[in-house]
């Protein structure tokens, strides 16, 4: 275990960011890693709890105390081994995870949590650097073939696990590059894309075959997969964005966040965007509707593109700065969270609802808004009410809709296969065997659970892999 008294002696120190003025000039990662000795010291803060709440808070159940201790003892190579036991892609989560583990950390109850995410990221970055990460090629192949539809974190995790269990795995991706949301949803300044490429290389060595530019249900009939493969895993994400059907929605300059973000990532990747398709914030007054992580990504991207101003709208009230930990810990609390993008210059409005868009020449230039109030009804449910007379407007040249996703896209694949859906429109499957209502078809990740975190997608991918393995072989020794 770390150092018994470490938490009393050592202050939390986390990775810093490059100064705003510098970092908004490029699209690269701007996090400054901690020096090695500082990481060891931070690892020493871990108390190796009898019940590691972090380990429970983490969706993939990372063995956090175990590798914290190894980092404290500077046994990095063993640390990556322990980290990889539960997480196929710590370099992704080490960058983009909101770290529910840190909310659950016992030190967070009284103090500041251990810098778990930073340590995780450092372990895997170091391991790549040292060349410790090698393909894990199975000793024998089973001869079974598995198709995975979707190459986001769920699909990739599932593919890697299945390949290591000796199955022949093919990953289908409708986009031109592998990675799904990791590739085209998360801006490069949060996660550079070579991280994905490096994993692809490892997975190729392990026997995974990637088929980008293959849109199952559109380019290729899904039936074909059922014929040619022993199992099919649907891991296509929940890509249907929530829309805002108010007057003026049809105006130019109002876009879904993903369209905006994808374009920028392609640009960074060196692709040329046809001018008529370009969505750019450069020189514009940008309004981002939606207060979540995607909203933040839009802010950071807009600022880097040179927006004149950025305003973010949130319909919910402003959460408290500090939660009552006695009643929330170790769970994920509602509190005001300020992302690095927020720091880069943006205005945030809470309790605001959009009434209409107004434009000129078919192009948006103004948003009509109203303030709202939230009250609990008799059953304790929150009800929203507009505040009379509080209407106001904002100027806007570019409006980005970042209000989340409702469910997977139904057109194409799902319509063709016709698996049973849950009431929210997701593909129905449980978390024990991940099987859909269609024989040999499994579902995992956002496509099954609805929009969620990368780390949840990895969990589902891994667990679905075990379920598939068990389905194919009658038993499985993959971890559940």
């Amino acid at each position: 275990m770390g150092k018994p008294t470490g938490f009393l002696e050592i202050q939390r120190r986390d990775r810093g960011y490059a100064p705003v003025a510098d970092r908004i000039r490029h699209f690269r990662e701007f996090v400054i890693p901690l020096p090695e000795n500082e990481l060891a010291a931070q690892g020493a803060r871990c108390m190796d709890c009898g019940i590691p709440y972090c380990h429970n808070g983490c969706p993939v159940n990372n063995l956090i105390p175990d590798w914290n201790d190894l980092v404290y003892r500077e046994r990095w190579q063993e640390a990556i081994r322990e980290l990889h036991r539960t997480n196929n892609f710590p370099e992704f989560t080490g960058r983009v995870c909101p770290a529910p583990c840190e909310a659950a950390c016992t030190l967070n109850l009284e103090d500041e949590p251990v810098t778990i995410k930073t340590i995780e990221c450092a372990i895997v970055d170091r391991a790549w650097e040292e060349g410790w990460i090698k393909p894990e090629i199975p000793k024998a192949r089973t001869g079974k073939r598995v198709a995975i539809v979707g190459s986001g974190p769920a699909g990739l995790a599932c593919a890697q696990q299945l390949a290591r269990a000796g199955h022949r795995v093919v990953v289908f991706e409708k986009n031109d590059r592998i990675g799904g949301l990791l590739r085209y949803g998360i801006p490069d300044f949060k996660m550079e894309k070579h991280h994905i490429d490096r994993r692809m290389a490892q997975m190729r060595a392990e026997g995974v075959i990637f088929r980008p530019n293959t849109w199952i249900g559109v380019d290729v009939p899904a039936r074909e997969l059922l014929d040619r493969y022993d199992a099919v895993v649907l891991a296509g994400g929940a890509e249907k964005p929530r829309d805002l059907p108010v007057p003026g929605r049809e105006l130019d300059g109002i876009h879904f966040a993903m369209d905006f973000l994808r374009q920028q990532n392609k640009r960074v990747a060196g692709d040329a965007i046809p001018p008529e398709e370009e969505i750019l914030a450069t020189g514009k007054r940008v309004v981002v509707i939606g207060g979540g992580d995607t909203g933040s990504d839009c802010i950071g991207t807009s600022i880097r593109q040179g927006a004149v101003s950025v305003v973010q709208l949130e319909i919910l009230p402003k959460p408290p700065e500090k939660e009552n930990k006695l009643l929330t810990w170790p769970y994920w609390p509602t509190k005001l969270r300020t992302s690095s993008s927020h720091e880069e210059g943006c205005e945030r409005l809470f309790s605001v609802s959009t009434k209409a868009f107004e434009g000129k020449d078919g192009k948006v230039n103004k948003i009509h808004l109203v303030r709202v109030e939230w009250n609990q009804d008799e059953d304790g449910r929150w009800q929203m009410k507009e505040v009379p007379g509080s209407e106001f407007t904002l100027d806007a040249d570019l409006v980005l809709l970042a209000m989340g996703f409702v469910h997977p896209v139904h057109e194409g694949l799902i319509q063709e296969l016709g698996p049973e859906l849950d009431p929210r429109g997701n593909v129905k499957a449980d978390t024990q065997n991940y099987r859909t209502s269609i024989d040999k078809v499994f579902a995992a990740g956002d496509m099954r659970r609805g929009q969620s975190l990368v780390v949840w997608a990895i969990r589902e991918g891994r667990q679905a892999a075990r379920a598939v393995d068990e389905y194919l072989m009658g038993y499985s020794e993959l971890p559940y």
């Binding site: 938490f7 709890c49 175990d66 103090d111 810990w329 993959l478």
Partner: protein, 1544 residues
């Protein structure tokens, strides 16, 4: 045929669990002059031992008493003549006392069988005589099973050349008749039994109270009845079932105590059957089997063994030394020849180990011996006219003082023998020297003894490469935790590792994971009926020496020097050691031959193959022995991808029992070479089931690998050495938990409870082990084993380069399941903080579901809602139910002030009870707070350390709880390291800041059930209003102990589960000792109901209770009250960090660190919320079950059922029939607590003392009282002191306000908890426990003026004097017994000699010994000072120097006169002055104390010393604890600095 008085085995009740302890005594005329007076005196002794016995529900039904005499020839001759029987001359005939069945046909049958054997053995039947009995005074329960008592007279046959041969023949006849009749099913209330059959002695005994012996057998009052000796016994059994045959004396002995190693002793005796040959017994030897019948008491078994040895030609004394040897190993004071004697005999027989005072006789000699630890009292006196009186205590026979020439006691391991034919006393030294000289034992040893350590070195195999190591570790189920929590810390520190917060992981049988077979065995431990040992402080009695290889013929008296013997100093073998054994043949010229047997079998044979493999193994073992191999190594080194190993434990036990069965076990040694064993517990179970030595090669290989990766790397050899040392320490601790001191007797003793294994499996491979719940069998064990093997040699992704996570000790989500998880804790905390009932329900649902998902035994129980429900509003209110709740015993010290007082306030608010835990309570907490709250803990705990147990503390209790054991570490003591003893904790515990405190494993005033009864009496005297509670831990047999506790008049008993427990404990104990409470509680309720005792005692259950469902199941299984520890602690903020032992609790609960304590966020409201939530859940279940009141629900076993369909491959074999057997209560017998105990304190002498002291109590006016006293006056002064403390607190009255002068022999616990202001001056002598808990009073004891004895050479007070004394002073003119001033916190005492273990665990006070001390003085002494007069200059060898240093008493400057004269005259020279600045002024202090001693006792010794002070001063040695000096110097420096600041 069994003891028909005992109920049959039913539910969990098993008559095999009975324990007893007793009063024992004898009187003998040394010259062998027979008289009737001796018999009368014998009867008087047994009558005066009445308080050491017990009665149960029937006030006239005793536990048994009896008397053994020489054959009264004249009486019998005349009686027989009247019947027409002509007796041959004395010595030529034998008399058998026979208990016969009541029904004539049965009786005749028994008589005929007996007669047939007499005839067959060619002896002469002279006739039968009816023994007149008068049962008018005995109880009905006893009468029902009363046997017909007859005597048979047998004449010596021509085939017996002499009386000894005749005695042997009678023995052979008796054994055959008993064995024959035992096997006949006979329907009769009374059982057949032959209490005696001898030409020398005769036994009159029965299921009697001591006073009834002479009444039941009127002929004992006949003047013609004469004897030169009378051996008497009064039994205290833990049950009340009349069993006439278990009354004592037996044929040769009367025993007070308990043989802990019984199971092993019986097995080993059986194992010898074929190896045993006797020239003397010849072919008769074969007729004796079974030598020891199953189902007898330990004493009866011992008697059987002794008889065999004597019949086989050993002298009585020799046989006793063989059975109960002194602690000979490592005793520098023992004579070389005597040591050789013992060492030689060690190979013949493993000790019968346990607390024992055994009086024995064959009619020609009579004597007594004490176990090596001296754990039972035995005092004796000798008169000028040749009478010796020996008894458990003094004062049992009125002998005029002026006739007594010697008063002494039996010392540990010593023997007293009176030879009536020689007409003299043979003392221990003479008798043992004589025996030791008889043969050249040392020479024999030199010829035959081979020490493993001294054999030439061998080369061990090299550890495998990393990947192979990993595969092997996985094959044997190693997890990362095994490396992290066990191997690494053990190899790094040489210590058995420590953990916190109990065990909440799934039971092995309920676990989804593959668990090792060891996990299905739980360690048994001593509670109440025998004491645990402190293996560290009392190391001198412990031994790990193991004998590997064949044993010599037990009865081969002249075969000395022929059998080679291999010994090892301890049983854990390095890989090189094992090679020495494997290749021993050439090195010992063929004396030893070793065969290695592989315990592996082909994987392809699968689960079913294991049974066949075991069979093959047993056959191979048998053949190997028959082929002349005398050491067998069972090895799993052949494990590979194609071969799986039978679990080493299973293989070992199977082979061990197979060889016992074949009578071959003592022909061979059994060594286990296994990869499996790594934890201390593993080695213990292997030893318990027969392994003489174990080589844990894989653990050692892993350590070699790890040692290079330590933060500070050490050599592989050093790491392995430390690991073995840690294992050894751990084994010693586990052995001592059960009170066993030698590995040799532990080996094969099977001191384990199985949990979750089925009986058929146990019967087959672990014979003698009992299953309470049924469960897994060979198929499941084999499945688990193969699962591990497949995971290791298959290719699971997770285990390719890493071990399984484990998760048993710290939760891991894919590891072992736990009850407390992030979610259950979060929900519980959120619910109680916000008062949200819905969140509580979520919590309860999670926990209850978890239980149902096979976590705990109760999880598998289901309510039977088979009665109409009642409306919720008609159910008893929650506010009543919460009164049944208590919080667990957690000391202020283990948890913070905030955490402790929050619980107390909360419990006082709801009318429940909080518990002080061990370590006292600050008096300011006794007063209510301004807002009406109270921080007073209603339950005051009295634990073995007795810290802070003052009179004031006791009178401020509602319940006084005697903690016998605690769930996390039953049978173990504790230690509070010096750095945790801050100023406040030191104040509460009456100790010194910075000085470590040790709680001994046993209560030194409870070595048996009768002692417990005494302590209950003492405490009841101090505070008659308080309920006296006894806390036990669940294990097989706990119900029987609880019945004994009820008979000892406890008002309350707590049955704790093994899983509870907070604070630091060795992981071995947390995980492996004790059983779940469901088993212990059910057994307790069943046994109490069968005994008709349930109504008078309140039963509390404790251990891992979390929800209302738990409470209801507890109630249905028989609990009145409920203890909660972990759950309320979590409510206060505990988050199960399991770091209590590190003092780093991040939520301020289990820490004394002021910084961390600030983080404490708990509030009493939260705790109140919790208990009301639980009560509400209880109410809802009650409504569903149809109960309006809680009482209706108690003990209704039939409302529970087992969940039918258990969807769990291992657990499906579980069967709760035994747990859920509802005991049939006789009509009118209560099954919940609704009656009170008869405490008999109204007869105490103190009632009169209080009346006479009334003026002093009321107004403080001094009073003087004079009174005679006798041994039946127990705890004199305790009740009076309670009165003082109630009115005046710990401060008490001014010195000597109540002066009581007594004359006579005081009973036990004289001056217990004597308060300040009370002086007891005793002209006479006292028994054990004088001044226990002394709280400021003064005790003076001197021998009567008229006695001719020299006070300084005779005993004046018994054992365990001043135990837990807080303050006060004592002057004893004479010598004290063992453990003088044990755990003394601050009293001052002067005494003229002490026995072994003087000043043990002392933490304060001053002891002056004006004479010799026994061995092991100052063991564990962390504070206080002792001055010992060391005239012979050998004190250093008797002193345990682990914690103390010896210094001279230096001559001091006369300038210090000033100090001496400060106090004025002696009358007021109180303790304050001598206690001033203990860092110096030794001479003045010592001189003053001796003067005071002289003043009070008129001691000649003191006078002589003072008159020759300059000669004597330098003969004194000062015993100074090292830590104490450091702490005192620091305190003194602080004080001086403060003074300087003041003056500056």
């Amino acid at each position: 045929m069994n003891h028909s008085g005992l109920p049959r085995k039913q539910g969990l009740y098993d008559p095999g669990n009975e324990h007893d302890a007793c009063g024992v005594g004898f009187v003998v005329d040394i010259k062998g002059r027979k008289s009737h007076t001796i018999i009368e005196q014998g009867l008087e002794i047994v009558t005066n031992l009445t308080h050491r016995g017990a009665v149960g529900a029937d006030p006239k039904g005793g536990d048994g008493a009896g008397i053994l005499l020489q054959i009264p020839d004249r009486f019998l001759r005349e009686e027989c003549a009247a019947l027409g029987i002509q007796l041959p001359p004395a010595g030529e005939y034998g008399v058998g006392v026979v208990f016969l069945p009541q029904k004539p046909e049965n009786r005749q049958r028994c008589e005929r069988i007996l007669e047939d054997y007499v005839t067959a053995e060619k002896q002469i039947i002279l006739g039968w005589r009816d023994v007149p009995t008068d049962n008018s005074t005995i109880g009905d329960s006893v009468k029902a099973v009363e046997p017909v008592v007859r005597q048979i007279f047998i004449g010596r046959g021509p085939n017996c050349p002499d009386q000894d041969a005749f005695e042997r023949k009678l023995f052979v006849i008796r054994k055959q008749a008993e064995n024959h009749i035992r096997d006949i099913p006979m329907d009769d209330p009374a059982a057949f039994c032959i209490p005696s059959l001898s030409s020398r002695t005769i036994v009159y005994k029965g299921m009697l109270m001591s006073t009834q012996v002479g009444e039941f057998y009127p002929e004992l009052r006949d003047e013609r009845m004469v004897s030169a000796l009378a051996l008497v016994h009064q039994r205290f059994s833990t049950n009340t079932f009349p069993s006439w045959d278990l009354a004592q004396p037996f044929r040769m002995i009367a025993h007070n105590g308990e043989i802990n190693t019984l199971r092993g002793n019986i097995n080993w005796m059986a194992a010898r059957r074929h190896a045993m040959k006797s020239d003397i017994l010849g072919e008769d030897l074969d007729k004796l089997w079974p030598l020891i019948a199953e189902g007898q008491s330990d004493s009866a078994c011992f008697d059987n063994a002794l008889e065999l040895l004597v019949a086989g030609g050993y002298s009585l004394a020799h046989a006793m030394m063989l059975l109960i040897p002194e602690a000979w190993a490592g005793n520098p004071l023992m004579d070389e020849k005597r040591r050789a004697f013992y060492e030689y005999h060690a190979a013949l027989m493993e000790p019968w180990d346990g607390p024992a005072a055994i009086a024995f006789t064959d009619g020609r000699q009579i004597g007594a011996t004490l176990d090596r630890n001296g754990l039972r009292p035995a005092r004796y006196l000798i008169t000028e006219d040749g009478l010796v009186v020996m008894a458990s205590e003094m004062g049992v026979l009125s002998v005029p003082e002026e006739k007594i020439i010697k008063k002494w006691r039996l010392q540990p391991g010593k023997m007293l023998l009176i030879d009536l034919e020689q007409g003299r006393i043979i003392d221990d030294a003479e008798l043992k020297a004589d025996l030791a000289e008889r043969h050249p034992y040392q020479e024999w040893l030199d010829k035959t003894q081979i020490h493993l350590e001294k054999l030439a070195p061998e080369v061990a195999p090299m550890p495998p490469a990393e990947q192979t190591l990993l595969d092997r570790l996985q094959a044997f189920g190693y997890t990362q935790e095994d490396l992290r929590f066990f191997l690494q810390p053990m190899a790094a520190s040489g210590q058995d590792p420590v953990g916190s917060m109990g065990n909440d992981a799934a039971l092995a049988v309920l676990s989804q994971r593959s668990r090792l077979l060891y996990d299905y065995f739980k360690q048994a431990f001593a509670q109440v009926t025998n004491p645990a040992i402190d293996p560290i402080r009392e190391e001198l009695v412990m031994s790990l020496v193991t004998m590997i290889g064949p044993r010599p013929n037990l009865l081969g008296l002249d075969e000395g020097g022929k059998h080679m013997r291999l010994e090892a100093l301890q049983p854990i073998l390095t890989n090189a050691d094992l090679e020495k054994i494997r290749h021993i043949e050439p090195r010992t010229h063929g004396a030893f031959r070793t065969a290695t047997l592989s315990i592996c079998y082909p994987v392809k044979e699968g689960v079913a193959g294991m049974e066949r493999a075991l069979e093959r193994l047993c056959q191979a073992a048998e053949q190997a022995v028959l082929d002349g191999n005398n050491i067998l190594i069972l090895s799993d080194r052949d494990t590979d991808a194609a071969h799986v190993a039978i679990p080493a434990l299973l293989a070992t036990s199977a082979v061990h029992h197979h060889l016992i069965h074949k009578g071959l076990r003592t022909e061979t040694g059994l060594v286990v070479e296994t990869a499996e064993a790594r934890e201390v517990h593993h080695f213990c179970v292997l030893a318990g089931y027969g392994a003489e030595a174990v080589n844990p090669y894989l653990a050692l290989d892993a350590i070699a690998y790890l040692s290079q990766r330590f933060p500070e790397p050490i050599s592989a050899e050093e790491a392995q050495k430390r690991y073995i040392k840690a294992v050894d320490k751990g084994i010693l601790k586990v052995m001592s938990k059960m009170g066993i001191s030698t590995y040799q007797s532990y080996c094969g003793a099977q001191i384990f409870n199985s949990l979750g294994l089925n009986q058929a499996f146990l019967d087959r491979y672990f014979a003698g082990t009992v299953s309470t719940t049924e469960g897994a069998g060979l198929a499941e064990i084999a499945t688990e084993t193969l699962q591990r093997h497949r995971r290791a040699f298959g290719d699971p992704l997770e285990l390719r380069d890493s071990l399984d996570v484990g998760g048993e000790l710290a939760l891991r989500l894919r590891g072992e399941t736990h009850a407390w998880t992030a979610d259950t804790i979060a929900k519980l905390q959120h619910a109680t903080r916000s008062g949200n009932w819905k969140t509580y329900q979520e919590y309860a649902r999670l926990v209850n579901e978890q239980n149902e998902r096979t976590f705990t035994l109760r999880g598998l129980m289901r309510f039977k809602f088979d009665r109409p429900p009642v409306p919720l509003e008609e159910v008893e209110p929650a506010s009543e139910i919460v009164k049944r709740f208590a919080t667990g015993a957690m000391s202020f010290g283990s948890i913070s002030w905030e955490a402790h007082t929050t619980l107390a306030i909360a419990m006082n608010r709801i009318g429940g009870k909080s518990n002080t835990g061990e370590g006292g309570e600050l008096p300011e907490r006794f007063k209510p707070l301004a807002n009406g709250d109270s921080m007073r803990s209603a339950i005051k705990q009295v634990a073995s350390g007795r810290f802070g147990v003052t009179t004031e503390y006791l009178v401020n209790a509602d319940d006084i709880q005697i903690k016998i054991a605690q769930g996390a570490k039953p049978g173990e003591g504790g230690q509070l390291p010096g750095h945790k003893v801050d100023r406040i904790i030191a104040k509460v515990r009456h100790s010194t800041p910075g000085v470590g405190l040790i709680s001994p494993p046993p209560h030194h005033d409870i070595y048996s059930i009768e002692d417990l009864k005494q302590l209950i009496y003492d405490l009841k005297c101090v505070n008659p209003e308080a309920r006296i509670s006894v806390k036990l831990v669940s294990e097989v047999g706990v119900g029987t102990v609880a019945a004994g506790v009820a008979k000892a008049h406890a008002d309350h008993v707590t049955i704790a589960g093994y899983d509870g427990g907070t604070g630091a404990s060795p992981l071995t104990s947390i995980k492996h000792a004790g059983l779940p409470w469901e088993i212990g509680l059910a057994e307790t309720h069943q046994t109490l109901v069968l005994n008709r005792l349930r109504g008078r005692i309140c039963v509390q259950v404790d251990g891992g209770l979390r929800t209302g469902r738990d409470v209801v199941i507890g109630a249905l299984l028989g609990a009145d009250e409920f203890g909660f520890a972990t759950a309320p602690l979590i409510v206060e903020g505990c988050i199960m960090m399991r770091k209590c032992h590190l003092n780093t609790c991040p939520v301020g609960v289990a820490t004394q660190d002021p910084v961390l304590r600030k983080r404490f966020k708990g509030k009493p409201e939260y705790v109140v919320n919790y208990f009301f939530f639980v009560a509400e859940e209880v109410r809802q279940l009650m409504a569903q079950l149809g109960y309006r009141t809680f009482d209706e629900m108690i003990g209704q076993f039939d409302r529970l059922d087992m969940v039918d369909a258990i969807d769990h491959w291992k657990a499906k074999g579980l069967d709760f029939t035994r747990i859920l057997t509802k005991p049939e209560a006789a009509p009118g017998v209560a099954i919940y607590n609704c009656e009170t105990q008869p405490h008999e304190i109204d007869k105490a002498l103190d009632n009169r003392l209080i009346a006479e002291a009334e003026p002093a109590l009321r107004t403080g006016r001094p009073v003087k009282i004079e009174t005679p006293v006798r041994n039946t006056d127990r705890a004199v002064g305790a009740m009076l002191s309670g009165e003082v403390a109630k009115r005046y607190g710990h401060e008490g009255l001014p010195d000597d306000t109540i002066h009581i002068k007594l004359k006579g022999t005081a009973g036990q616990s004289f001056g217990a908890w004597l308060a300040r202001g009370v002086t007891l001056e005793l002209d006479g002598e006292a028994n054990d426990y004088v001044g226990k808990g002394l709280s400021g009073g003064r005790i003076i004891i001197y021998p009567p003026r008229e006695t001719p004895i020299l006070a300084e050479e005779n005993i004046i007070v018994g054992n365990t004097v001043l135990y837990g004394a807080i303050t006060g002073e004592c002057y004893f003119r004479g010598i004290a017994g063992e453990r003088f001033a044990v755990r003394n916190s601050g009293a001052i005492a002067v005494v003229e000699g002490v026995g072994d273990h003087g000043c043990e665990y002392m933490t304060g006070g001053i002891v002056v010994v004006l004479g010799e001390t026994g061995r092991n003085f100052a063991a564990g002494m962390s504070g206080g000072i002792a001055y010992v007069l060391d005239e012979r200059g050998d004190f250093e060898r008797r002193c345990n120097l682990a914690m103390v240093e010896l210094e001279p008493v230096l001559e001091e400057d006369l300038a210090l006169e000033e100090l001496e004269h400060q106090g004025g005259d002696l009358e007021t020279h109180g303790w304050v002055k001598v206690g001033h600045d203990l860092t110096r002024y030794d001479e003045q202090r010592l001189h003053a104390l001796i003067r005071t001693h002289l003043h009070y006792t008129d001691s000649q010794r003191a006078r002589q010393i003072l008159e020759n002070w300059s000669d004597y001063r330098h003969k004194f040695v000062k015993v100074m604890p090292i830590d104490y000096r450091r702490a005192l110097q620091q305190l003194q420096a602080e004080k001086e600095q403060a003074e300087m600041r003041l003056t500056a």
